[in-house]
């Protein structure tokens, strides 16, 4: 790994070590905005890390930005970093200015649609978007949809739009946003805007899950080496060793799948690589979390040990922006439509 990447990771580690102690996590889960943590991220430009430099980015390439995102997920950080990066990328791709502050995106649920209506003076957005991540705490949302059959991206204030706030299993807010002829602050065409939002969201969740799996494995190794039963650390038992070897395989495969998708998606999300990543990493999330908890025994079944900051995220993120079945099915249909003999030539081009 390059020195620059090492420095980047150290910066991310420092911010989360300083600004993300347990009380901050707990108050965030209770619905409070982690202002100091977010400010620290903004100060080093991580919120803008995925933007091209001319759009106000911090000069990192996309791989570096995803490395930082992955590390934030490794730390189980209760912040909408992925959502802010994604929203900013959509705005920048459509040539729109990226406002300061945390951002979210809508719609995020398959089947949810927002309607853009072009008026004489102003274009408005209407409709409901369910389970918008951090939708109640971000001042702006980037909305994607169509106008006259063309993909569009717009920027809208979320003020007064939140109708109800649920949480995902990790305690991160998921808000119902309802817009009723709400004027857009900006609007511009972007090819396949809605599909792009979905695929890029799936990519970011894959990257985040790879980070949470890495952390889960580390928690397991630490715990297994410290926990003594029958007179020796449980890490010395072959049953535990084999379980963690399997978890290591899931974590390594997740990293490889997420890396491949990031590499292929520098400018626009690559349908194949993202489908592979969300399918493969989503599967590893469930299987990996199961092993991690089994190894931790009753201790991991409490909120006293920190394992749950990783595993509750894994159990949430695998179902966001399309679960494994959704992406497997898309991938499977595409492969079947191309025919059996086209599979190898396609795979070997990757």
């Amino acid at each position: 790994m390059s020195e620059m990447r090492n420095d980047l990771l150290k910066t991310v580690d420092r911010i989360f070590d300083e600004h993300c102690p347990k009380p901050v996590r707990e108050s965030a889960e209770a619905g409070e905005w982690p202002a100091a943590l977010w400010r620290a991220l903004e100060e080093v430009g991580l919120d803008r890390a995925a933007l091209p430099e001319q759009a106000g980015g911090s000069g990192l390439d996309f791989e570096d930005a995803m490395l930082a995102l992955r590390r934030s997920a490794y730390h189980g950080a209760p912040v909408p970093l992925a959502e802010t990066m994604l929203a900013g990328r959509l705005l920048a791709a459509a040539g729109l200015a990226v406002p300061p502050g945390a951002l979210t995106v809508a719609p995020v649920q398959t089947g949810d649609r927002l309607r853009f209506v072009q008026g004489a003076a102003v274009t408005t957005v209407s409709g409901a978007a369910q389970r918008v991540p951090w939708g109640n705490l971000c001042a702006h949302a980037v909305v994607a949809g169509e106008l006259d059959g063309k993909g569009m991206v717009g920027l809208v204030s979320t003020s007064g739009a939140a109708r109800g706030v649920d949480k995902n299993l990790a305690g991160e807010p998921r808000a119902l946003l309802e817009f009723d002829a709400t004027p857009l602050i900006a609007l511009a065409p972007l090819k396949d805007a809605l599909a792009r939002l979905e695929a890029e969201g799936a990519l970011y969740r894959s990257v985040q899950m790879a980070g949470a799996l890495e952390r889960s494995l580390e928690y397991c190794l630490q715990y297994a080496n410290e926990r003594v039963q029958f007179g020796r650390p449980i890490a010395k038992f072959q049953a535990i060793q084999h379980m963690l070897a399997v978890l290591a395989g899931q974590a390594a495969a997740s990293s490889a799948a997420a890396d491949a998708a990031v590499e292929a998606s520098r400018l626009v999300p690559d349908e194949f690589a993202v489908s592979v990543a969300k399918s493969r990493v989503g599967e590893a999330a469930g299987k990996g979390a199961e092993i991690a908890h089994q190894v931790h025994g009753a201790m991991g079944y409490t909120r006293e040990h920190n394992l749950h900051y990783s595993t509750r995220r894994l159990w949430s993120w695998r179902d966001e922006f399309g679960n494994e079945s959704y992406w497997q099915s898309r991938l499977g249909r595409a492969v079947a439509a191309d025919g059996a003999d086209a599979l190898w030539p396609m795979l070997s081009r990757r």
């Binding site: 010395k236 963690l244 490889a256 491949a260 493969r280």
Partner: protein, 382 residues
């Protein structure tokens, strides 16, 4: 703790050019009826095909030209092997010699061994078997009981090797034998020897496998003489050599493509408009396959850089062979078929053969349990 990093590797342009050549070669062979794409690629023994591969420079690709090699990169070799496997080519005759034995001779063989044997391997006319397992020594390889005693000018080997694939058809094997009594360090005192199977003093008896095929053998040595210049490295170095040899065995595309033909034929049988369940399963396997391939190529990149990715190779083999085994278990539900070994039964035969071969995938080249132990050691647990 060992950090598992599967760094991305970009295939060089030369490797992609080679891919086109290999694919055209395989297509031409199939068109001429030389072989039908096999369900058993690297276990199909076809000396004619191996000779053609040798002529085309597809064997011993990384070795120096002075030994008949082609001085190409690990990634170019990777492309050739994966194209052969995906194309179902009968590469079994030269597979072991190319994958590990030749590599081992190049590194540790005497000058005579290198000069006399490597060019023949590269030409596709000299084939090897593996001489590791014994009746009482499988996963516990250090328990080998085959002994070699010092004699004038060489060694005399006595003992029995089993599960020796192809020994009834190959020219040589590399035998691991004990050359001094067991000490406290049970890994000390072993040596690898190149054994010429055409010489007297060795007998080969078939052991039929689960699907009724003759692939395995029992190989018995009775005071079999091996000259000093057929010793690998120094006497007593055997353990280090044999573990290094196993690393070559473990990360290649042969560890996740064994049932690729069944995947392809299943997709064909399901057709272009799959139902939801079929689409899910196809998508899931393709996602696994694409990921495994990336990890395996990454290990080839590590080999290219001169690293010894022993733990990474074990990890790729563990998840790769699990993937291979899942393919028949899943598609038998989606394409209800009673499996058979009846020739000409099409999909049912392919499924039958695959089911009966599958248990071997997670045993050969190091069992799943041995690999997980190695991974755990890499994680710092042992």
């Amino acid at each position: 703790m060992h950090e598992f990093r599967f760094e991305p590797v970009r295939m060089p342009a030369a490797a992609e050019a080679l891919r086109g050549e290999v694919r055209a070669f395989i297509a031409q062979e199939v068109a001429q009826g030389a072989f039908t794409p096999s369900r058993n690629s690297w276990s199909s023994f076809d000396p004619d095909f191996s000779r053609k591969c040798g002529e085309r420079g597809y064997i011993g690709m990384r070795w120096p030209k002075e030994y008949g090699g082609h001085e190409r990169s690990a990634l170019e070799r990777y492309v050739v092997t994966e194209e052969m496997l995906a194309g179902g080519a009968p590469v079994g005759a030269h597979w072991i010699a190319d994958r590990q034995s030749g590599q081992q001779i190049l590194r540790y063989g005497s000058d005579r061994a290198k000069r006399t044997i490597l060019p023949k391997i590269a030409a596709g006319v000299c084939f090897f078997s593996i001489g590791m397992s014994e009746p009482d020594s499988g996963s516990d390889l250090a328990a080998v009981r085959t002994r070699a005693a010092r004699v004038e000018g060489g060694w005399k080997i006595s003992g029995t090797k089993v599960w020796t694939s192809g020994a009834h058809q190959t020219n040589y094997l590399i035998a691991l034998a004990r050359t001094s009594a067991k000490e406290e360090d049970r890994h000390a005192g072993m040596t690898q020897f190149i054994v010429d199977l055409s010489h007297p003093g060795v007998s080969v008896r078939p052991i039929y496998n689960l699907y009724g095929g003759h692939d395995f053998n029992e190989v018995v040595f009775d005071e079999f003489f091996v000259a000093d210049d057929m010793v690998m490295g120094e006497a007593g170095m055997g353990w280090k050599l044999v573990t290094g040899e196993l690393a070559f065995e473990r990360s290649g595309p042969d560890r996740f493509l064994s049932t690729y033909q069944l995947l392809v034929e299943s997709i064909r049988a399901i057709g272009g408009d799959p139902d939801e369940r079929c689409a899910n399963e196809i998508g899931r396997f393709v996602a696994h396959l694409a990921t495994l391939r990336r990890m395996s190529i990454s290990v080839a990149g590590m080999l290219e850089r001169g690293a010894q990715p022993i733990v990474e190779a074990a990890l790729v083999k563990d998840i790769g062979t699990a993937f291979e085994r899942e393919i028949p278990e899943t598609f038998r539900h989606l394409i209800p078929t009673e499996p058979t070994l009846g020739e000409g039964a099409g999909y049912a035969e392919l499924l039958g053969m695959t089911i009966l071969r599958a248990p071997g995938f997670t045993i050969r080249g190091g069992t799943r349990e041995i690999l997980r132990g190695m991974i755990a050691r890499g994680l710092g647990m042992r």
